[in-house]
């Protein structure tokens, strides 16, 4: 294979390998280079096209099967993928002129045979390949040339308008019932309610008046009563707020672990994780899980799987309960203390602090600062329909802090008075964006316009590996009927469903770009918004 471009081949291959390891997507130049290389190689051995083309076909198939599973590519197939991917382009080109030949006909037949065999192999290979082809139609550009070896997999919770995904979800819920109960008792599927605004039709929208418990039997045997109670509290909004939900979740799991007994011939480390799966689906249907809850669940599952098999049940349960208590203590309670300590340094006497909505962490900080005799006053900004600011106002005034209350429409009027803005966060994304209650990005934007420093307070357990740059892709739609309000006896929007061109949108979260955030105060210290990936990396290395 003496070629002009050959000597550079191994170097380029190294580059490509490096690129694969880092980003899994090749830059355009590298792809073009590869294509040229392969074209030259193929042209030089046109007559011996049979074997190499078939090999490249074979490699093409496992490449596209391996690409939807980006977590597990082994290096050799990955290396061959870029070399094989450009191959189909020249191959059909080279084959069509020889279509009239006898060897071409046999080639086509053999190709068809091989393809059928590859399909069978791929079908049996695993479920990971399933989502790939299904996600493809959902994506705006289905790669026809399969030049991109990596097909990003869309998470299922943002594909609500895809009926195949809904069917898959229903089947998954069926499969997830605990094994000792018959197939009739399974986790019900909560149906969507009302007209969804088209931009957000890929998300779930549930009605608070149709709780999931409607479809469950009353003495809930399929799902542990503590989890049913928790799900109800989530869906009715009794437990709301990132920290509150995580704490309640962990307490419910403690209850589940306490009541758990290992069935015979099963290991606690594996069976308990399987037992938790239907509970998590149930809670997800009651209200979509938050990033902090997701991290807490990952932690628990890891702890459970790490229980050695020779550990006795009592001891294992005790260890797990202990772990959960430690987690709550470290990540939530002590973190709040640490953050309060750092924040109090930033609060000086005479400050006017603006807060938005009701963040348990920010309230805690302000109460601590007040106890340390800092002189400041607070402006609480609130927004419909949740009107959580009223609760924040109550807690601050109860402590004795001087407070003002405005609605978000008055933010630009009140900002000239403000010296700092303290915001809470629901999650911090890996690209530095802050996901928080809807309205937060507005506040940050206006504060930036007025040159007021914006400080976000967030514990590290809320840091999330997701990347998002807009509030559309992944969000939560709350009950649209919450927007209906009755004033002086008249309810204007009462019959909104009958108006065909009217849609009510009740968004819960939005993302704030890191340009608007000046500082993030975490339990690890005060970091800029863009250092979130560093923290995540450090955390992963620790674990």
């Amino acid at each position: 294979m003496a070629d002009a471009g050959e000597p550079e081949g191994p170097e380029r291959k190294d580059d490509i390998v490096k690129a694969k390891q880092e980003g899994k997507e090749l830059t355009k130049e590298e792809k073009q280079r590869l294509r040229k290389e392969k074209k030259q190689q193929k042209k030089s051995k046109e007559k011996k096209d049979d074997k190499p083309s078939r090999d490249s076909e074979k490699e093409k198939k496992p490449a596209s099967a391996a690409s939807p599973a980006p977590q597990t590519p082994t290096q050799p197939p990955a290396q061959k993928a870029p070399s094989a991917a450009p191959a189909p382009v020249p191959v059909p080109a080279s084959e069509t002129p020889s279509a009239a030949d006898k060897p071409a006909k046999s080639k086509a037949e053999l190709k068809a045979e091989r393809r059928a065999r590859q399909e069978a192999e791929r079908a049996s290979k695993g479920k990971k390949g399933d989502v790939g082809p299904q996600a493809a139609p959902g994506k705006p550009k289905a790669p026809p040339s399969e030049l991109q070896p990596v097909v990003k997999r869309l998470p299922e919770h943002v594909q609500v308008d895809n009926p195949e995904v809904l069917k898959k979800l229903a089947k998954k819920l069926e499969r997830q019932q605990t094994p000792e109960y018959n197939a009739a008792t399974k986790i019900p599927l909560r149906s969507d309610y009302g007209y969804k605004v088209s931009l957000f039709s890929h998300l779930h929208q549930y009605s608070r008046k149709a709780p999931l418990t409607q479809q469950l039997g009353i003495p809930s045997t399929v799902i542990h009563p503590a989890i049913v109670r928790l799900g109800l509290q989530y869906s009715q909004g009794i437990v709301a707020g990132s920290n509150a939900r995580s704490v309640a979740l962990l307490h419910a799991f403690k209850q589940v672990i306490r009541d758990y007994t290992t069935p015979p011939n099963e290991e606690l480390s594996r069976d308990l994780v399987n037992r938790l799966k239907p509970y998590i689906s149930f809670l997800n249907q009651c209200r979509p899980l938050s990033a902090s809850m997701g991290n807490a669940i990952k932690y628990i599952k890891k702890e459970i799987s790490n229980i050695p098999s020779q550990c006795k049940e009592e001891e294992a349960k005790r260890k797990l309960l202990n772990c959960i208590d430690c987690y709550i203590n470290e990540k939530i309670v002590l973190a709040a203390k640490a953050i309060a300590k750092y924040s109090i340094e930033k609060i000086s006497d005479g400050d006017v602090i603006l807060v938005y909505g009701c963040s348990s962490l920010v309230n805690h900080i302000l109460c601590e600062a007040f106890e340390k005799n800092r002189k400041f006053r607070v402006i609480v900004v609130d927004s419909r329909p949740r009107l959580e600011g009223r609760e924040a106002l109550r807690r601050l005034v109860q402590k004795g802090i001087n407070c003002t209350y405005v609605l978000i429409s008055a933010v630009s009027y009140i900002l000239p008075e403000v010296s700092k803005v303290f915001l809470g966060a629901h999650a911090l994304l890996a690209n530095g964006y802050v996901m928080s209650r809807v309205g937060t990005s507005q506040i940050a934007l206006v504060a930036k316009a007025f040159n007021v420093p914006v400080l976000v307070c967030c514990e590290t357990y809320k840091f999330c590996e997701r990347v998002q740059t807009d509030s559309f892709v992944s969000n939560e739609l709350d009950d649209p009927d919450d927007l209906i309000v009755t004033r002086t006896g008249t309810t204007q929007l009462e019959h909104w469903q009958e108006v065909p061109s009217l849609g009510l949108l009740n968004l819960v979260y939005d993302v704030t770009p890191p340009d608007f955030v000046d500082l993030v105060i975490t339990d690890l210290g005060m970091i800029p918004c863009t250092s979130v990936p560093v923290v995540l990396r450090v955390k992963n290395v620790d674990q």
Binding site: G217, P219, A226, G237, I238, A240, A248, S360, E391
Partner: protein, 441 residues
């Protein structure tokens, strides 16, 4: 296990003695099914698998022979017999079975006919960690004329005053007119915490209660409380607002007991975790004052008030007749039992229900009536708007309107009954003309 169901079927039916002096109330036929089938069916449909039935020996005997109970009820019935002397109230009965009770309970009365979605009541119980959750319904007017009563007798009904908060779910006040001497007095502490209270009369208490296990334990210690509806519920409603010295007594008992037993029961520690999460949650059940969610109270009582949908308590004769009219429609009862023998020249209205093994002869007309099992109706009989129980023989040429004929009665030939109530095993002499609003016990 989350909830245990308890069915109270030992009641005597003191307000309809004419019907119940021979048949116990729990086994009175309504739409050709025994009365206690209806709450059991409700529990079964909701998903319960076991029920503790508190009843008398007589009812237990009748239950074991009744075909409907044997075939249709698939749940496991744990029958507990108590004495028939009638001194035992519902709370006393709960005290009696305290050993069997391991979790929170759902108490149902045997005379409840409803198709309420039970999850509404139980969700209140679960979500708010309530001590008591009950069901009430808007009362329906009874339109049928009650046999045996001349004219409309206005019974001085003792009204129930029920006070709920603005959301209509939290129960703030409950009293019966009989207990109020001068007027309705409401404590200032309640008004301070809930300045807007809706007081409703004209609600029917369905006698369906979700109670925490701690309440049962509390009953075991306080032997003075004997009736759930009459004493326990008003006590709990009052205790919501009492000073905290007395209030946590129920809770503390439960937590102490649980710590001793180390049962892993769901209540232990749940109240403390709930308060830990509620501290961080941005939710409050009321607004306008400085207090936290639930005003920091640990004892909470909730009520679900049904606006529409059937909910009957069959404890008076009028209610019994109404139930007979409407219950079969609720459950889509087959109008004619397959084993009944009906001749072709019988005119049967679509509202009528014929029981098993009946024999209906020619030229009879049956409209808007319920005919029980093993009844014989001879020729030329006209039955309208009536309830005929099991084993009755109606001879030729009778004309029965708006009446209730109890089991095993014999109506002689040519008798003419209008709005009459014929007791058990009675015999009406033939050619008895123009019985009107009579009442033969």
């Amino acid at each position: 296990m989350e909830l245990q169901a308890v069915l109270m079927a030992a009641g005597g039916g003191s307000r309809m003695t004419d019907l119940t002096y021979n048949t116990p109330k729990a086994m009175l036929p309504v739409g050709n099914k025994p009365l206690m089938w209806y709450p059991l069916n409700l529990l079964e449909r909701m998903g319960f698998e076991e029920v503790i039935v508190i009843t008398t020996k007589e009812v237990q005997k009748m239950m074991s022979t009744d075909p409907k109970m044997k075939l249709d009820v698939k749940m496991k019935l744990d029958v507990v017999c108590i004495q028939e002397d009638g001194d035992m109230g519902t709370a006393d009965a709960l005290r009696h079975i305290q050993q069997k009770i391991k979790t929170d309970i759902l108490v149902v009365s045997c005379d409840l006919i409803t198709d309420v979605a039970l999850h509404e009541v139980v969700d209140l119980f679960r979500a708010h960690n309530a001590t008591l959750a009950m069901l009430m319904s808007k009362a329906h007017e009874f339109t049928e004329t009650v046999p045996g009563q001349k004219g409309k007798k206005k019974t001085a009904e003792q009204r129930d005053f029920v006070g709920v908060d603005q959301s209509g779910k939290r129960l703030l006040f409950m009293a019966n007119e009989a207990d109020l001497e001068d007027g309705l007095s409401i404590r200032k502490s309640i008004m301070r915490k809930h300045p807007r209270m809706h007081i409703k009369t004209g609600l029917v208490d369905a006698h369906l209660y979700c109670l925490k296990k701690a309440v049962v334990d509390f009953l075991a210690d306080n032997k003075s409380i004997s009736s759930i509806r009459g004493e326990l519920v008003p006590y709990l409603v009052r205790k919501q607002f009492s000073k905290t010295t007395n209030c946590p007594k129920i809770k503390d008992d439960a937590e102490d007991q649980n710590q001793k037993k180390n049962d892993g029961s769901t209540n232990h520690g749940h109240s403390s975790c709930l308060s830990f999460s509620l501290d961080r949650s941005c939710w409050n059940d009321h607004r306008g004052d400085m207090s936290e969610a639930y005003h920091g109270g640990k004892l909470r009582c909730y009520v679900h008030i049904m606006d529409e949908g059937p909910c009957y308590r069959v404890n008076t004769l009028a209610a019994y007749i109404e139930a007979n009219r409407l219950a079969p429609k609720l459950f889509e009862e087959v109008p004619v039992h397959p084993s009944a023998v009906i001749s072709e020249r019988c005119q049967m209205g679509s509202d009528s229900y014929i029981g098993a093994m009946c024999q209906i002869a020619d030229k009879t007309s049956i409209k808007r009536s319920t005919i029980g099992n093993s009844t014989t109706v001879k020729e030329k009989v006209k039955v309208a708007n009536s309830i005929i129980m099991h084993g009755v023989t109606i001879e030729e040429g009778c004309n029965i309107q708006g009446s209730v004929i109890c089991s095993n009665a014999v109506i002689g030939r040519g008798a003419d009954l209008k709005y009459c109530l014929v007791g058990n095993g009675q015999q009406i002499e033939p050619e008895g003309k123009d019985h009107w609003h009579e009442h033969t016990p």
